[in-house]
């Protein structure tokens, strides 16, 4: 099936099978490998992207469902070689170790601060329940999201 999507500001028209997951479309067709796959069960959040500005898990939606919508991945948030404030904050606060969960954390973090600009730490920890990190113990991720200057 033919789909028309906007990926990180660029209009794309591609032929995909109905069973292609959006994350596979992003990684295989678009060659944007910053969006990760960490599980089979919609639990880890490594695949988090924004669909029309809203955070979703790209491993649990078909590419055909994104037809006529706009997709933002981790590659699309920095402007003119300048890191997004959320990325900057992860760097500042040592919010990552191996980095596998990080694209998902950053995309989820941006979405959380968009919805709840002055969120407190307790609420933020609840909001992060769909993003799993096996390295950091979350403290610095929480710090990064709370302190991002956005």
């Amino acid at each position: 099936m033919k789909i028309n999507v906007n990926v990180n500001g660029q209009d794309i028209s591609e032929e995909v099978e109905p069973r292609t997951l959006l994350v596979d479309f992003i990684r295989e067709n678009m060659k944007l490998t910053g969006t990760h796959v960490g599980c089979d069960t919609t639990q880890c959040g490594a695949c988090t992207i924004h669909l029309d500005g809203i955070a979703i898990k790209s491993c649990t939606i078909l590419a055909v469902q994104a037809n006529n919508k706009s997709i933002t991945t981790i590659e699309g948030i920095s402007k003119n070689d300048k890191l997004h404030p959320m990325q900057e904050s992860f760097k500042e606060n040592h919010g990552l170790q191996c980095g596998f969960c990080t694209p998902g954390m950053v995309m989820a973090g941006i979405d959380i601060r968009r919805r709840k600009p002055s969120i407190d730490e307790d609420e933020l920890r609840l909001e992060l329940e769909g993003n799993i990190c096996r390295c950091t113990g979350y403290h610095n991720i929480v710090k990064s999201i709370l302190n991002a200057k956005m």
Partner: protein, 264 residues
């Protein structure tokens, strides 16, 4: 995932036409259960009929003493709806406990109810509040809707249009989540409705059910203590690596008490 054909439809009539002409179709709402199931090859429909473009299935409104929620309304929308927060805050609270924010952005109330997952959150509220399930054919009482594990009163070609919740005097939901999946190991929804006290339980049995035992105790004395000696039979409850049937039966009481504490 096995191959299938994909259809995006824009009206209920179109869904009906597709269902009658296709081999083994499956209706998709938010896809938060269906897609993972298909990924694991536990489901292999010939065709997917995607409801997401049918606008009449979305939205929340108040009509007299009822809150009407369109079947394709997302958990996030229910959780943040000013109308739901004002009229049935326990329902808004429940919606905010489902999955995680990304899942709540896509999962829908109709999908959850139609699926009758034994540990889904919404069914407990539908039963406890005595909601009506409005389909393209009829209105179904909550008490008649959930039949068994993943089985409801819906016909194969029947589509949920909306859920009609009577506004209760007061209600509360308490959930003991399974920490990995965040589904309810046990969830209990207690409502003081115009028809009396109703208690909906999810997670414990093959599908959500009313606990008549707790209802009876609470109508005599609406307090945590009154539940103390209630016996929740564990014979027909679920037992798995996460919790035995006996533990689930214990949790039903604990969650019910917490819900009552919240109400008093």
């Amino acid at each position: 995932m096995y191959e299938f054909h994909y259809h995006k439809v824009s009206s209920i009539n179109e869904v009906k036409e597709k269902i009658s002409s296709l081999d083994d179709p499956k209706i998709m709402a938010g896809g938060m259960t269906l897609i993972p199931t298909m990924k694991q090859r536990l489901a292999a429909p010939s065709d997917i009929i995607d409801l997401s473009d049918i606008n009449e299935l979305r939205g929340i409104s108040k009509e007299k003493d009822f809150i009407i929620i369109g079947s394709m309304t997302t958990h996030f929308e229910v959780h943040t709806s000013e109308i739901v927060k004002k009229e049935i805050p326990s329902l808004a609270f429940l919606a905010g406990l489902i999955g995680d924010p990304m899942v709540r952005h896509r999962g829908t109330i109709g999908g959850s109810v139609a699926n009758s997952d034994p540990s889904a959150d919404y069914p407990s509220s539908v039963i406890s509040l005595g909601a009506k399930i409005i389909t393209d054919k009829r209105e179904i009482d909550a008490d008649d809707f959930f039949i068994d594990l993943f089985e409801t009163a819906l016909d194969d070609d029947e589509i949920i249009i909306s859920l009609k919740f009577p506004i209760p005097n007061k209600a509360a939901y308490m959930k003991f989540p399974q920490p990995a999946s965040r589904y309810a190991l046990v969830g209990v929804f207690v409502a003081v409705t115009k028809e009396g006290i109703r208690v909906g339980v999810t997670g414990a049995g093959p599908c959500a059910f009313r606990s008549k035992e707790i209802e009876k105790a609470l109508s005599q004395d609406f307090s945590e203590n009154s539940i103390e000696n209630v016996n929740i039979p564990s014979e027909n409850l679920n037992s798995d690596i996460h919790a035995s049937a006996e533990y689930r039966s214990h949790l039903v009481k604990v969650m019910a008490k917490r819900a009552i504490k919240k109400l008093s």
